[in-house]
C-alpha cells in the first residue's frame, strides 16, 4: 500500500563560501511510492542565497528556506496525486551560498542525478541566465521562482525558462490598477539607491503611464549613513514634501527604509509599493479561493507563514506534477510541451485558471494587493479589460515583449 511521500530533513548541506567544489547538497531526497509503470521523475531545486540586510524594525527575517519549503509542499501534493496514476516524484535541493561556485554545484548535481529535466530556480537574474546557458541544463525546463526581472521575460528570455513568480511590471501594474480604481492617481515616488530599486521605480513609472496615473514628483533616499531611528521623523517629512499627491510610492526592495516611511510622510498619505500597501504573488492574509487550505498545509509543514517565493516554489512543482498527472507520464519532453501549450491550465489558489504565456513563458496569474492585515484587492481589478483574458492586463503583453525564443508557440 503506497503511503504519502515523506520528506527527510537533515541531509541538507549548504555550498559554503569555502566549500569543496564537489560538495553537493543532495538533501531532501524523497522516498515516494514505488513507480508502477513510470520511472520516478526528479525535480531539482537550485538556490543561490543572497545577503540580506539586518531587519530594521525587529521584523521576522526572510526565512533561509523560503522557496524550498514551498517546493517541498508541491512535491508532497504531487505525490499524493500522482500515486493514483502510477506516478511518483522526487525533489533534490542544491543551495549555493553567496560567492560560492554555482556552475560547479550544477555540474556536481548533474553528475549525481543524471540528466536534469526540471529545475526550480530561486536565484538572481544573472545566476538564472548562467544556469539556463550551462551545458548541464541543455534539455531542462527551468522554472524561475525568485527573479522578478522584466528583462528575463523580454530580450533576455530563454525558450526553456518559465517564470512562476510575477515580474516586477506585473506587480506594479496590479498596484496601478488598484490606485486607478480608487482614483488615487497622483503618486509621489521615493526610490532607494539599489539597482533593484531603480528597476522597481522604472516599472512603477511604466505602469503609471500604462493605466493613466501620474508621478508628480520623485525623490531618492539612501538609508546608509543615517540612523533612521533618529532621523526618520524629520527626514521623511522633508523628502515627501511636494506637489499635491494621493499616495507616496516607495521603491525599496531590500527593505532598508520603506517600513519607516509609513506614517512618516509630510502629508497624511498612504505608502504603497515595496512597503505599506504592496502588490505580491502571495502573502499571509490571502484567504479566499480556498487559499486557506494551502496556507494551512504549508504552515503545518514549515511552521511559518507562506511567502511569495514559497508560493512560487509550490506552484512550480505543482505545475510540473500536474502536467505529468494529466499526461499520466513522466516523460520530460511531453511534460514540457504540455506546460507551454495553450491547452494547459492549472489551479493555484488564486481563483482563476493559470497558464503560461506562450510568448515569454510567464505564468498568468492574479496579483494580490495587500498590507500585513488584509488583502485589499486581487488584480486584475474590475474594469481593466483585455481581449484575451483580463490576466493579460498585467505585465508584458504579446506585442510588447521582445522575447522571440518561444517562436512557433506564439
Amino acid at each position: 500500500m503506497p503511503t504519502r511521500a515523506d520528506l527527510t530533513e537533515g541531509g541538507r548541506r549548504g555550498f559554503g563560501r569555502h566549500a569543496l567544489r564537489a560538495l553537493l547538497t543532495a538533501c531532501a531526497l524523497i522516498a515516494a511510492a514505488p513507480a508502477l509503470a513510470n520511472p520516478q521523475l526528479a525535480i531539482h531545486y537550485v538556490e543561490r542565497r543572497v545577503e540580506r540586510p539586518t531587519p530594521l524594525n525587529n521584523e521576522p527575517p526572510i526565512p533561509d528556506d523560503e522557496g524550498l519549503r514551498g517546493a517541498e509542499l508541491g512535491l508532497r501534493d504531487g505525490n499524493a496525486t500522482g500515486r493514483f496514476v502510477g506516478l511518483s516524484f522526487a525533489l533534490t535541493s542544491t543551495v549555493v551560498e553567496p560567492g560560492a561556485d554555482l556552475p560547479a554545484a550544477l555540474a556536481a548535481l548533474a553528475r549525481e542525478s543524471g540528466p536534469l529535466r526540471f529545475l526550480v530556480v530561486n536565484a538572481p537574474a544573472d545566476d538564472l541566465l548562467a544556469i539556463a546557458d550551462a551545458p548541464e541544463t541543455r534539455d531542462a525546463v527551468l522554472l524561475n521562482v525568485g527573479a522578478p526581472d522584466v528583462r528575463l521575460r523580454d530580450r533576455d528570455c530563454r525558450a526553456r525558462m518559465l517564470h512562476v513568480l510575477p515580474s516586477r511590471d506585473m506587480l506594479t501594474d496590479a498596484l496601478a490598477q488598484l490606485l486607478l480604481y480608487k482614483r488615487w492617481n497622483r503618486l509621489l515616488l521615493v526610490s532607494g539607491p539599489g539597482a533593484d530599486d531603480a528597476l522597481y521605480a522604472d516599472a512603477l513609472r511604466k505602469s503609471a503611464k500604462k493605466f493613466g496615473a501620474r508621478i508628480v514628483a520623485e525623490a531618492s533616499f539612501d538609508a546608509r549613513g543615517a540612523d533612521l531611528r533618529d532621523s526618520a521623523l524629520k527626514e521623511f517629512a522633508v523628502i515627501t514634501r511636494g506637489p499635491e499627491h494621493d499616495v507616496v510610492a516607495v521603491a525599496d526592495e531590500r527593505a532598508e527604509f520603506g517600513a519607516n516611511l509609513v506614517y512618516n510622510t509630510a502629508s497624511p498619505r498612504p505608502v504603497v509599493g515595496t512597503q505599506g500597501l504592496i502588490p505580491t504573488a502571495w502573502g499571509r492574509p490571502v484567504e479566499a479561493w480556498a487559499a486557506v487550505q494551502l496556507q494551512g498545509r504549508f504552515a503545518k509543514l514549515a511552521g511559518r507563514p507562506m511567502g511569495a517565493i514559497d508560493w512560487a516554489g509550490w506552484m512550480a512543482v505543482h505545475a510540473v506534477t500536474e502536467a505529468a498527472t494529466q499526461l499520466k507520464s513522466s516523460d520530460g519532453s511531453a511534460i514540457r510541451d504540455l506546460l507551454i501549450s495553450k491547452k494547459f491550465e492549472v489551479g493555484g489558489f488564486k481563483g482563476r485558471a493559470l497558464s503560461f504565456r506562450p510568448w515569454n513563458g510567464q505564468l498568468r496569474q492574479p496579483v494580490f494587493v495587500l498590507w500585513p492585515g488584509a488583502v485589499v484587492a486581487a488584480a486584475p481589478v474590475e474594469g481593466f479589460l483585455h481581449r484575451r483574458t483580463e490576466l493579460d492586463t498585467l505585465g508584458l503583453d504579446e506585442p510588447e515583449s521582445a522575447c522571440r525564443a518561444f517562436g512557433g508557440n506564439g
Binding site: 499524493a80 496525486t81 493514483f84 487550505q293 498545509r297 498527472t325 489551479g347 481563483g351 485558471a353 483580463e390
Partner: protein, 331 residues
Amino acid sequence: MILFRLCVGAMLLMPLGAEAHEVYVSNERDNTVSVIDSTTWEVTRTFPVGRRPRGLTFSKDGRRLFVCASDSDAVQVIDPDTGKLLHDLPSGEDPEQFSLAPDGKTLFIANENNATTTVVDADTRKVLAQIDVGIEPEGMAVSPDGKLAVTTSETTNMVHWIDTGTLQATDATPVGQRPRHAEFTRDGKRLWVSSEIGGTVAVIDVATRRVVETIGFEIKGISGDRIQPVGIALSEDGRSAFVALGPSDRVAVVDTESFKVKATILVGRRVWHVAALPGGERLVTTNGVSGDVTVIDAVSLKAIRSIKVGRYPWGAAVRPAAGVRSAGAAE
C-alpha cells in the same frame, strides 16, 4: 418554539397548493443556520451551530439535521425543530461535505485538510473507515443503489470511486481543475461533476467510469474565468441540471439529454449551491458574497425572489416533508 408555532398558524392560512417546506441554509461566516419557509419565503428561525458550517443534510425522516462544522472538526447532529445540538459525530479533520447513504445511517464525509474520506455510522456514532483519497476532498455522493460512493479532490483533480462494501478506493477518474461537487442521476447511471477552475461540468458514465461529456459555459459580457461551476442540482424529472456558476452570479440550466445550456439565470453574488424543492417547481441558491438566497421558478427559469440570510451562505438542504410537523406528518 413560540415563533415556530406562530408560523405553523400562519401556514394554515396559505392558499391551497402551496406545499410548505423548510429550507435550511448554512451561514459559513456567522456560524449559524437560517431556516426559510417556502410558503412565505421568509427566514423563520436562525440558530447557532459549530464553526464554519458548510455541507448540511437531513436524515430520511427529517428528524435530524447533519451539519459539517468544518472548523469545529465535527459533524453536528441537530434537532431541526429546536435547533438544539443533539450530539457530534466523529468526522475526521475539517469535514467539508458529506453524503448520507440510502441505508439512512452510513455517512461518507470528505475531510478537506487531510486527504481522507471518513465513513461513519450515524446510529452507533462509530468510525467505520478512513479512506485515503486525493488532496482536498470536497464533493461527496453515494449512488442511489448505495453500492458506490465518490469523492472529488480539488487539488488532485480526480473523482475517487469507493466500494461501499469493502470501503476501499477502487479507482480514480481525472476531471477538470478543482472538482467541487458530484451528483448521481436518479437512475445511478451517470455522475455529474463540476470543475470550478476548469470551468466545466463532466458527465461520467458510472459503469465505465469514463467522462462521456464535458460541458462548457459561455455568458455574454462575462469573462470565461469568472464562470466557475460549483453546486449541481438535478431536477426531479431528470431532464434538467441546474449548475451554480460561482462569481459569474448565474445558474446555468442544462438539458440532460442534449447537454445544451437552455438558460442562464442571474441570481445573487458568488452562487455556491443549488437545492431543488420537492414538486419540481422551485429551486433555491446560496449566494456567498451577497449573503442571500435566490428562489428560482423552474418553469419560467427566472429568479423570482431573494431572501437575506446570514454572512457567507454556503449550503442548502430541504427538510423532507415527513419531518415537518405542519405538513401533517405523524408524530
